[in-house]
Every structure is written in structure tokens, then in C-alpha cells.
């Protein structure tokens, strides 16, 4: 013990950090902030440390070369002992980090922590969110598989839409004319040097400001922030009702951080590493690229935007979102902090959460994509074929062979791009069916050039059988009248 003390004294005589560290640890924080709601920032920091450590471990084996990255991931997964586990820790750590950063952001937003004098802390926090998402995206690229390859294609296609500079930005992003070796190398540099450097710098400034300005007090309805009086009130609060940060508040941070690390370790052990999926060989086109979890919502939005809206939304949307976040503390720097008195803030969070959740859920099922192998892989359920005439069964064959099944489902099998056809005969008359098949429309290709008249007749005959038992197919009431012998010669009494 005495040895440790004397080493400590020796070091402190030279470093002279002991006093300031002690002051930092023991600085008083408002008693109510020693709360389980105030643990997310420190947890994000601990996960970041885990990412640094596992990232360095991975860099010992990983080869950032387009020709060899994928094989080096296979070596990590299969040939290096516990390489798979380090990859799993890094991958799950990434998911947890994004999630915790988002939860942290929601918490400080709802607690009004961005208000005076912590505007800059919030702004640096917004930058931290952006660089964290940057880490997630570039990390997904380093897992250099099919998803990474085509994900880069999506990124390039979006970047290319920037007016005038678009093609240059694409070349800069890819490091050349195509997605290739230079692309992976520059994403490696971004993921390993540039963005982590920014992240460390922003975290340092963020933490420094938390220490200098004090942690945001627990918001109380009616305790209004005013620039003239706030700092005095805050100091009075920490003086009268404060506890030293260590150990008064930090034990909850420690428990939560340990719980999060344990969760990552368990997820990594149970679910294993992410991918890699197929090798990044663009000539293998039998692939359905999907982004990682936290970009799925964007993937869904991109399929729902009308074509004319897409470029403006892609280019203006992020700018507006980031500007909104940056301007928030300046527009609402004073006033109520409590979420009980800020219904619009609560509704905004709910709206964003529901929207992101819905889009993410949709992107996991991709109802907008044709099921590429439904025509050959998913047969028509037998109940749609029983007791059908030869012509109708021929039509079912046309339905299958012409890949209608890729976009239209029958009995919940097949694509969801177009409407389910289980009861299409109730909705459309024979004429309407023929017109729809031949001319398309409503987001359906026209099949006029693709089907012979005999095939169309058979297909429509089959479609006309698709109605629930006991419900007759739709029919054009005027048709019988119009086709009635002599109908044309009758005086038009209806007009």
C-alpha cells in the first residue's frame, strides 16, 4: 500500500493532475440527476471504447483490399480462434452504440438539456450523431460483401443527384470510375482514421462542456429557463441539493454500462457476427442488397417517394433535418424544460419514432420488391386450381410463366408489389381485366406486347375465377344491354 502511495505521489509531483481529477470527480451535481435516466451518455462512451478495442483487434487480421477483404473476413470467422467473436462484438457494439446514442438524444431532448447555456453541447452532440452514423455506414462498407458493394452503388447514385457537382462527388467517393480497390481503401481510411479522430475530438469537447457547465438538472414543470438568472439558480441548486458526482451518481452509470457491455457480449455470443454475405463480385447478380438495420428506414423511404420527389427529398431532406437540429437550441433556448409542459416536443418524438419504426419494419419485408423466384419457386395453391376448366388452368400457367406471381400474391404466396389477386374478379370486370393486363398502369407494366391473344384470353379466364365462394365476379351491367341484339338501333332513351 505504501509503495502504491509513494508511486502515486511521485507521479503526481510530476504530472500535477491529481487535484483537478479529484475536483472533477467530486464536483457536485443536482441530487435528482443521479438517476437511471442520466446513464445513456456514459454508456455510449463505454461502447465507443469497446469499439476502439475490438476495432484494433480486427485490424490485426483484416486486409483493406478489394480483392482480399472478403477472404480476410472468412479467415476471421473460421481460421482465427475467436475471430468470429471479435467480429460479433464489433458488429453488435455498433448496433448498440447507434441505439444508445439515439436514446441519449431523445432523453436530453425531452429533458430540455439543449436550452441555455448548453446549446453548444447539443450542437456537438448532433455532430456526434452524424459521425456515429458515419461510422456505422463506413463499417458496413468494410464488411466488403455483396450488400456493401451494392450499398456503395446506392450511395453513389444518391450522391450523383447533387446538381452540377454530382458526378465529381461520385468519383471522389469511389476513388475512381467504379466501385473497386480505391473505394474500399478510402472507406477504410475514413472508418479507421478520419471519423474516429473526429469522434474522439467531439467526445472530448462534449464531455468538457458537461463538466464546465454542469449536468442538466432534472426538469420541473414551472422551473423556467431564463438567460439572466439560470446560471445563478443552477449553482444555488447544486449547492443546496447537490451530491458529489463520485460516488453519488456514478454508480448508476457503472451498473448500466456494465449491463450494456454484458448485453453486447451475450448478443455477440448468441447471434454471432454479421455476414459477410456473398463475395463482392458484381457479376453475381442474384442478390437482394439490404442495408444494415439503422439504414433500413431510409431504404424503405426510397421505395415510397414518388420519382419526381426523390431527388429534392434526398438532397434537401438531410440538410433540413440537420439544420433543424442545429437551430433547435437557438429557437427554443429558454422556457420550460419539463416534457410535461412541452406537448409538441413529446409528439415530435412519438411521430419520428413511429415513422422510423414503421419504415424499418416495412424494409424488413420489402413488400415493394418483386419476389424474384416466385414464378418458379412458389406454386399456385391448389384451391385456386380445383374444378377449373382447361382454359382457366392454361391461364394459371400463363400467370406463373409470365412471372405475374413475382408481384401478385395468391393465397399469401408470391410478391406483394402489386395487389393480392385472391379476389380480383370481384374488383374488376372482364373488360377491365383485359385492359389492365394489356395496357398496364397504376405501377404495373403493360403486357400487350408480351402475351398472345390466346394467352391473354386464358389468363383473364383464370383471373375471373378468383373470387370468394358465394360472391359473384364483377360484371359490367351495361355490357349485356349494349351487346343485346338490336341494342344499337333502339332510340337512346337514357340520354
Amino acid at each position: 500500500m505504501r509503495l502504491i502511495d509513494s508511486i502515486g505521489e511521485w507521479l503526481d509531483a510530476r504530472l500535477q493532475l491529481g487535484t483537478s481529477i479529484r475536483e472533477t470527480m467530486e464536483h457536485p451535481v443536482p441530487r435528482e440527476t443521479a438517476s437511471w435516466f442520466y446513464v445513456f451518455g456514459s454508456a455510449a462512451f463505454i461502447v465507443f471504447i469497446l469499439q476502439i478495442v475490438t476495432g484494433i483487434m480486427l485490424a490485426l487480421i483484416y486486409v483493406p483490399s478489394a480483392g482480399e477483404a472478403w477472404s480476410s473476413l472468412q479467415i476471421l470467422n473460421h481460421n482465427v480462434s475467436l475471430g468470429w467473436y471479435i467480429r460479433a462484438l464489433h458488429g453488435w457494439g455498433s448496433n448498440f452504440m447507434v441505439a444508445i446514442v439515439l436514446i441519449h438524444m431523445v432523453q436530453v431532448f425531452l429533458f430540455g438539456a439543449y436550452k441555455y447555456p448548453r446549446e453548444l453541447t447539443w450542437i456537438v452532440g448532433v455532430f456526434l450523431l452524424i459521425v456515429t452514423l458515419g461510422m456505422a455506414f463506413t463499417g458496413q462498407v468494410l464488411r466488403f460483401d455483396q450488400d456493401a458493394y451494392w450499398g456503395l452503388g446506392i450511395g453513389a447514385s444518391i450522391a450523383s443527384r447533387v446538381p452540377v457537382l454530382g458526378p465529381w462527388i461520385v468519383n471522389l467517393m469511389l476513388g475512381g470510375p467504379i466501385i473497386a480497390g480505391a473505394t474500399l481503401s478510402r472507406f477504410f481510411a475514413l472508418h479507421v482514421f478520419v471519423i474516429p479522430g473526429l469522434l474522439i475530438a467531439f467526445v472530448a469537447v462534449h464531455l468538457l462542456m458537461v463538466l464546465k457547465l454542469g449536468i442538466n438538472e432534472w426538469p420541473m414543470p414551472g422551473r423556467v429557463v431564463r438567460k439572466a438568472t439560470y446560471i445563478k439558480e443552477y449553482h444555488a441548486l447544486t449547492k443546496t441539493d447537490g451530491v458529489p458526482f463520485v460516488p453519488g451518481a456514478i454508480w448508476k452509470d457503472m451498473f448500466f454500462a456494465a449491463f450494456i457491455l454484458l448485453s453486447i457480449a451475450v448478443c455477440a455470443a448468441y447471434f454471432g457476427p454479421f455476414g459477410p454475405s456473398g463475395p463482392p463480385d458484381p457479376t453475381i447478380i442474384q442478390t437482394s442488397p439490404r442495408p444494415d438495420f439503422f439504414f433500413l428506414w431510409l431504404y424503405a423511404v426510397l421505395s415510397f417517394l414518388p420519382p419526381s420527389m426523390e431527388t429534392p427529398a434526398l438532397l434537401i431532406g438531410p440538410v433540413v433535418a440537420i439544420l433543424g437540429l442545429l437551430l433547435l437550441p437557438f429557437l427554443f433556448g429558454e422556457g420550460e424544460k419539463s416534457w410535461r409542459r412541452r406537448p409538441i416536443a413529446v409528439l415530435t418524438i412519438l411521430l419520428v419514432a413511429v415513422a422510423l419504426g414503421t419504415f424499418t419494419h416495412l424494409a424488413q419485408h420489402t413488400p415493394w420488391s418483386p419476389v424474384m423466384d416466385a414464378w418458379s419457386g412458389e406454386p399456385i395453391p391448389h384451391e385456386f386450381l380445383d374444378n377449373r376448366s382447361a382454359l382457366e388452368r392454361q391461364g394459371a400457367l400463363v400467370f406463373q410463366v409470365k412471372q405475374c406471381h413475382n408481384c401478385h400474391s395468391l393465397g399469401d404466396q408470391g410478391g406483394k408489389r402489386g395487389p393480392a389477386l385472391d379476389a380480383v374478379a370481384v374488383r374488376l370486370t372482364q373488360d377491365q381485366l383485359i385492359r389492365q393486363v394489356i395496357q398496364g398502369g397504376g405501377n404495373m407494366p403493360a403486357y400487350g406486347k408480351n402475351l398472345s391473344p390466346a394467352q391473354t384470353t386464358a389468363l383473364v379466364a383464370f383471373l375471373e375465377t378468383l373470387h370468394p365462394a358465394g360472391q359473384s365476379p364483377a360484371r359490367n351491367a351495361s355490357r349485356a344491354l349494349a351487346l343485346e341484339p338490336g341494342a344499337a338501333s333502339q332510340p337512346s332513351s337514357h340520354q
Binding site: S65, A66, G67, E68, Y149, W150, G153, I154, S157, I158, A159, S160, V162, G166, P167, W168, V170, N171, L172, G176, P177, I178, I179, A180, G181, A182, T183, P279, D281, P282, T283, I285, Q286, T287, S288, P289, Y299, L302, S303, P306, S308, E310, T311, W368, S369, P370, M372, W375, V401, K402, Q403, C404, R417, G440, N443, M444, P445, A446, K449, N450
Partner: protein, 182 residues
Amino acid sequence: MTLPGGFTRRDVLMKIGILFNGIIAAILAVPIVRYLLSPVARERKGGYESWIPLGDLDQFPSGQTRLATYRNPVANPTDGDTADIPCWVRNVDGQTYQVFAINCAHLGCPVRWFQQSSLFMCPCHGGVYYQDGSRASGPPERGLFEYHYRIENGKLLIDAGEMPTPGHPIASNIVTEIRPCV
């Protein structure tokens, strides 16, 4: 020592020091920026495109659409498989051809050809194109990207080298399409 204007000698020396560092930084910035911009600077010198053979004409039967691959003309030894680029070749009538980029005109995913329904379908967001590459349905704003082609000594050549994107469809120095000289 105080100079006229209230400056001390040390003030002046420090300012000269800052200026000196600024000049050196500016000089060093030139090669660094030039290095960073090298993927863009290349474009000025006539672009990345060149004529690449896709194979003999008899690989592409009349009325059929077939997948072809080529090695990108601009490639490095470390590129591995990523420099092998696929494309769709449609032999319209034995005389005329169409060569489509693999990349969907929406966001660049690989489109697949379905011969039975004569459609190209994209697995990402459901873009669909007719056999002539024109847009059929889904989110794309335009038809498939089409390479310029020519026929030489019984081989099909395309003018390729850069991944087409919505903001930069097939770039080419050639203004009009070259008709086949069969």
C-alpha cells in the same frame, strides 16, 4: 525595442513566423489537394471510357437478351473481382443491338432479366423495365442506362469504363449513336 506603430520586435517576428508557416502550408496544400482530387482530375483528360470487346457476335443470338461481363478498362491489381462488370446485351433483330448497364436507373442495384415476361426487374425497390430498356414501373425516373456500341471484326464493343448513375448516365465523347456496320 519598440518599433513605430507600437509593435515590438518580437511581435513582428512572431507575425512573420505565422506568415511563413501560412505560405508553407499553402504550398504543401497544392500537392495534397491535387492528390485528393485525382479521381476527378482524370475526367478532364477525356474520361474513363474506352472501347471494350464483349465477345463474338454469335454469343448474342437474335431476339435474345444475354448477360455479358467485361474487365473494366480502368482497373488496378488490387481490385479483385470488383473490376469485372456485367451488362445486359440485347440482340434486337440480328442487326441492331442494345447494351444496358446492370445498374438500375433508380439507385444502381443489379437488374435481372426475365425472358418469359420480357422485363428487367430490380430487387431493391422494385423498378421494372421493358425489354428495350424503357421504364415500365416503379421508382426509376428513366429507362436503363444504355452503352454506345459498335461492331468490329465480328465482335461487339461497348464504350464503357465508369459506373453509370442517375446524375451521370453513360458518359461518352460520342454525340450520336454509332449504327452497326454489318
